[in-house]
């Protein structure tokens, strides 16, 4: 059975850890700088006052003048989410994080350990902790599990039997499907409100009207594909932190601090001589917020000078004085050095550069972004059956 653990408004909850008293007053996560002024998740008090997530900032402040805007804290979100995942992994669940606040896992491996599905899911809730108000949905398919978690109450475990999945999904609102706002409006205009109403339409008609997005939504309305959950491999923490006694904004001091962090990170034995491919620079701001920038290097390197040149300019983007600077190794290269040849074979240099370029692309855009075309039935009369695009290691 696939289970989905959901923590609504995780980003707001993580940001509120620093000032828990705001959880009891009307508060909302501030819009992202440079983005459309739309509110993030809101507290229960704000919701009671008529403020809704996704509302325009001006409208929200007019509705509830006492609304407090909570600054985004990406570093805290990352840290708290990683801790929650680790607690689940410690309890024996092979987790696959979907996004902050949403994680899926299979119960099959731990059912015997805890004596059934229900006790295993209770253990998962306990592992995350009741302070986060987690809820769990479980079903034979991933989308049904997510839908069950979305309608469950805080601390509730909602298990949907495979035979009841269709009946369970039918009365749920269309907003559970991953569609754009324009698509919802289009469907509402057509008089569709429930998942069951979309599921009753012919697949071809939905695909013709709404395109690939509609086809996916129609498939999900029928429960979605039966895909297995692939547990992540736990990450190893490789980071160095420097806390300042007073707030620092001076670029020279910041660059010196970065140099010191780089030296400490390079000296870490866990690196085993491997150069860095991707690094992240994070800072805690004096006003309580946080800041984070990730940098993918053109060539994986462990040279201090090159690392300084890549990371240094990012310090100029700091929006306020900081009280803590943190340097994280996000990805390491797999090699420890490069074998030089007296006479390079023809084409070797181009090949090496191409591979390095592909590794850089993969590091910055994520796994599955570098693919190879594999011919499977080049003789087929059906064009899409002739070849597959398969993700590859580089």
């Amino acid at each position: 059975m696939i289970a989905c653990l959901l923590i609504p408004g995780f980003e707001l909850r993580a940001a509120l850890r620093a000032c828990p008293r705001l959880a009891l007053v009307p508060a909302a996560l501030a819009p992202e700088a440079g983005e459309e002024p739309l509110l993030g998740p809101v507290t229960a008090a704000a919701e009671a006052a008529g403020v809704k997530p996704g509302m325009r900032l001006g409208e929200a402040l007019a509705t509830c003048p006492s609304l407090v805007l909570v600054e985004r804290d990406p570093a805290a979100v990352e840290r708290e989410w990683e801790e929650a995942l680790r607690r689940l992994e410690d309890a024996g669940f092979a987790v696959q994080p979907v996004e902050h606040g949403v994680v899926v896992f299979e119960t099959r491996g731990v059912e015997r350990l805890y004596g059934g599905v229900q006790p295993a899911l209770e253990r998962a809730l306990a592992a995350v902790g009741s302070t986060w108000d987690p809820r769990i949905g479980a079903a034979g398919r991933r989308f049904t599990a997510l839908a069950a978690a979305s309608v469950a109450r805080s601390g509730q475990i909602l298990i949907v039997a495979e035979t009841e999945e269709k009946a369970f999904l039918e009365p749920l609102p269309l907003s559970l499907l991953p569609l754009t706002a324009a698509r919802y409006a289009e469907l509402e205009g057509l008089g569709l409100r429930r998942i069951g109403e979309l599921a009753q339409l012919p697949r071809g008609a939905v695909a013709e009207r709404l395109g690939a997005e509609g086809r996916k939504a129609w498939r999900l309305a029928h429960g979605g594909r039966k895909a297995r959950v692939r547990g992540r491999k736990p990450a190893v923490e490789l980071a160095e932190v420097l806390a300042f006694p007073d707030a620092v904004a001076n670029e020279l001091t910041l660059r010196r601090a970065l140099g010191s962090l780089l030296e400490r990170l390079l000296a870490r034995p866990e690196r085993a001589g491997r150069p860095f491919r991707k690094l992240a620079l994070a800072a805690r701001l004096v006003d309580g917020g946080s800041w984070r920038r990730a940098v993918t290097l053109r060539d994986a390197t462990a040279e201090v000078g090159r690392l300084r040149a890549a990371l240094g300019p990012k310090l100029a983007e700091l929006p306020a004085p900081i009280i803590e600077l943190r340097l994280e190794a996000v990805e390491l290269a797999e090699h420890t050095g490069q074998q030089l040849a007296l006479v390079e074979p023809a084409g070797e240099e181009a090949d090496t550069r191409l591979r390095e370029g592909l590794r850089q692309v993969r590091a910055s855009t994520g796994t599955g972004s570098v693919c190879t075309v594999v011919e499977v039935a080049p003789w087929s009369r059906i064009p899409e059956a002739r070849a597959l695009v398969v993700p590859r290691d580089v």
Binding site: R215, T367, A385
Partner: protein, 91 residues
């Protein structure tokens, strides 16, 4: 956090090359496309049928058209007779 190098395998799933994409097509009296994705068709260069996998649960019955649009683009579209809708594809 340093991602485990083995985790590259986690996101593996093969996709189809030249997968068909839904298209908005208006047809003439003979069933040939007249407008494709809101662009006028100036010439139908070729037309052919693909009937395959009729012995399976997912039979293929398509009427392909290679057309030239007003902008000069060459596009391949087909009418799926099973799903009764139009798709574009690099055939």
């Amino acid at each position: 956090m340093v991602a485990d190098s083995g985790s590259a395998r986690a996101g593996r799933s093969a996709g189809r090359l030249n997968a068909p994409r839904p298209a908005l097509v208006e047809t003439g009296f003979d069933g040939a496309p007249r407008v494709v994705n809101r662009e006028l068709v100036t010439l139908v260069r070729e037309e052919w049928r693909v009937v395959d996998r009729w012995w399976t649960d997912e039979p293929v019955d398509r009427r392909y058209f290679e057309v030239v649009l007003e902008s000069g683009r060459n596009v391949c579209v087909y009418r799926d007779r099973e799903e009764r809708c139009w798709f574009t594809q690099n055939a």
